[in-house]
């Protein structure tokens, strides 16, 4: 078999029995566009148990085929059963591509079934483009901390497995097709072979930590921050604006703020009404997580900083000085 014998693009529908993970729906919409170009069928692969309203959201994306998986071992996500499931299904149907949402669980099993199938896996793409010359999908991913973009392909092997960062594509359903083929597959995985046991789940809300994704105002600190001794003034500014502090990866790496406050592609994606950014260079890994903010103000001493490209208004200047001035101005307004 050559790569051209592999047909159709699959999207793994991640769900908890009640709701579909948003990234799966986003992926269906993007994969629809690819299939329109390649002529492949768009197939949604979901473990059975979704309510009708959720299934309707899948159909609305214009899928050609719905594969419903039955069997034991899938009630709770686990690496063992899901790795086996996609290995078995891919061996039977030979899809050209399998897209998996880049959630923690998606990234947990996608590379493993790719390795088991001995095929290529790419991760965290922010763009997917079909190259008609090679017949390959080009997965475009930020690399080296977002300082460059890398085009990654699976040139020989199939399926092309890729995880896609949540929030990258939009859920813009093109409408349900008149005919959708429904396939039922039963792949039993012996629950005794599942090597992890869930002892407890602690929902995030319980720990009282900052949930930046829900904030309306965010003050974001970049590597221009000289040290944690300066954190106080930015906290004060955030308080005055009624918001919370966020940061970029270097600030997290320096141990100044926790991971939950790291904004970007591999951290939190924020969409506040106002984001004020201090000392942030503007690498794409970071901007991917904040570019959809309503109003973005950027402060940086380097007039060529990339952050000014995504900002609505920029101030070139020393971040600490500007912060002090803003605090003063806000206090004066009160």
């Amino acid at each position: 078999m050559t790569k051209f014998d592999y047909k159709n693009m699959w999207v793994y529908i991640e769900h908890d029995g009640t709701t579909i993970s948003t990234v799966s729906l986003e992926l269906l919409c993007e994969a629809r566009k690819l299939c329109d170009v390649t002529g492949d069928k768009l197939v949604a692969v979901a473990v059975d148990g979704l309510p009708e309203a959720e299934l309707a959201k899948i159909r609305a994306t214009g899928i050609d085929q719905m594969m419903v998986v039955h069997g034991t071992g899938y009630e709770r996500y686990n690496n063992d059963a899901y790795t086996n499931l996609f290995t078995v299904l891919c061996q039977k149907y030979n899809p050209s591509a399998v897209f998996v949402g880049g959630t923690t669980n998606g990234r947990d099993f996608a590379p493993r079934f790719a390795a088991r199938l001995n095929t290529g896996c790419t991760s965290d793409a922010i763009e997917v483009v079909y190259n008609p010359e090679s017949g390959d999908i080009e997965f475009i991913e930020p690399a080296v901390g977002g300082k460059m973009m890398a085009v990654i392909t699976v040139p020989v092997l199939r399926p092309q497995v890729g995880t896609i960062r949540p929030g990258t594509f939009k859920y813009e359903p093109v409408g349900e097709k008149a005919e959708i083929e429904v396939i039922h597959e039963t792949v039993d995985f012996d629950p005794a072979l599942i090597r992890t046991k869930l002892l407890k789940f602690i929902p995030e809300e319980d720990d009282g930590a900052v949930n930046l994704a829900a904030e309306e105002v965010v003050v974001c600190l970049g590597n221009g921050l000289s040290g944690s001794d300066k954190l106080g003034k930015y906290q004060e500014l955030a308080d005055l604006l009624g918001g919370k502090l966020g940061c970029t990866r270097p600030v997290f790496d320096r141990g100044i703020l926790p991971f939950k406050q790291m904004i970007g592609q591999s951290g939190v994606v924020v969409k506040p009404k106002l984001l004020v950014s201090f000392g942030v260079s503007g690498a794409i890994n970071h901007t991917a997580g904040m570019k959809d903010a309503g109003t973005i103000i950027a402060v940086n001493s380097d007039p060529d900083a990339a952050i000014f490209g995504v900002a609505d208004y920029g101030i070139v200047g020393d971040m600490d000085t500007v912060c002090d001035m803003m605090i003063e101005a806000l206090k004066a307004r009160q």
Partner: protein
């Protein structure tokens, strides 16, 4: 006795890397090579397990000869064995072929109860190595581990916390198990002088494509890779908004405050 394998990688300190604006390629000159930060957390997790339960730590890496430096870091805090897989034939390997080589090389020195990796690297950041190594070792997979709470050697189980989008899972995993760790609870320690001095001259086992037993040449380096990188380019600079130029920083700040007030944001 617990056998622990720690997988580490030497990476360029990307915070210091510059990109050639024309060719889009990396300018690595003068950029220090460091241990991938999350691999430091993996090492820390391994050392803490050894301190609590006893055991033996083996560290492994693949890279050029000077990647031995990251293995010496591992030795300086308690790894007793270090394996460097280094061969021109491993060049341009993706995670599929790298995991194959690491798996084959590590297995020459026995089996492992626990395999610990960083969640992802600073440079490639695919986060795929852990999952693919778990496949090579036939191990239970636990990704995004924030804490390894308890190791029960007799029962062959490990209790660990795993960070998910909506909360934290507490899992009991059967050994052999592979964990990819988050930085959350594993700030790497600084080696003491004695450890550092010892590591400087400690032996490192170097393996090549010829000396790794049973290596299939078709599965290593570029030929063994599932993915390729046909090209790279600098990220497009966004159009951007307005850089305020009111004459002074004070006036620019005043202008911003005015704009925010107009928008009802302050």
């Amino acid at each position: 006795m617990l056998k622990i394998l720690v997988c580490v990688k030497q990476v360029p300190d990307v915070n210091l890397v510059k990109i050639d604006p024309v060719t889009g390629s990396l300018i690595r000159d003068g950029v220090p090579a460091i241990m991938n930060p999350l691999d430091g957390s993996a090492l820390e997790a391994a050392v803490r397990i050894k301190e609590t339960y006893g055991g033996e730590i083996t560290a492994i890496t693949m890279g050029p000869d000077n990647a031995a430096a990251v293995l010496r870091e591992c030795i300086s805090v308690g790894a007793s064995q270090a394996i460097l897989c280094s061969d021109y034939a491993f060049k341009d390997a993706d995670t599929l072929s790298t995991s194959y080589v690491i798996g084959k090389a590590a297995k020459m020195f026995g089996e492992y109860d626990l395999i610990i990796c960083g969640k992802e690297t600073l440079d490639g950041a695919t986060g795929q190595m852990g999952s693919q190594l778990a496949e090579r070792f036939g191990a239970t997979m636990v990704s995004s581990t924030s804490l390894i709470m308890e190791v029960n050697e007799e029962m062959g189980t490990v209790i660990a916390e795993r960070e998910l989008e909506g909360g934290v899972e507490v899992l009991e995993a059967q050994m052999p198990a592979l964990f990819t760790v988050e930085k959350t609870n594993y700030q790497p320690r600084i080696p003491n002088f004695k450890g550092w001095k010892f590591a400087r001259t400690a032996p490192i086992t170097k393996l090549t494509a010829d000396t790794i037993e049973g290596l299939d040449r078709n599965k290593i380096g570029a030929p063994g890779s599932g993915t390729i990188v046909p090209r790279t380019y600098p990220p497009e600079k966004a159009e951007g908004g307005m850089i305020l130029d009111e004459g002074s920083v004070e006036k620019n700040v005043a202008k911003v405050m005015e704009i925010l007030a107009d928008k009802g944001l302050v």
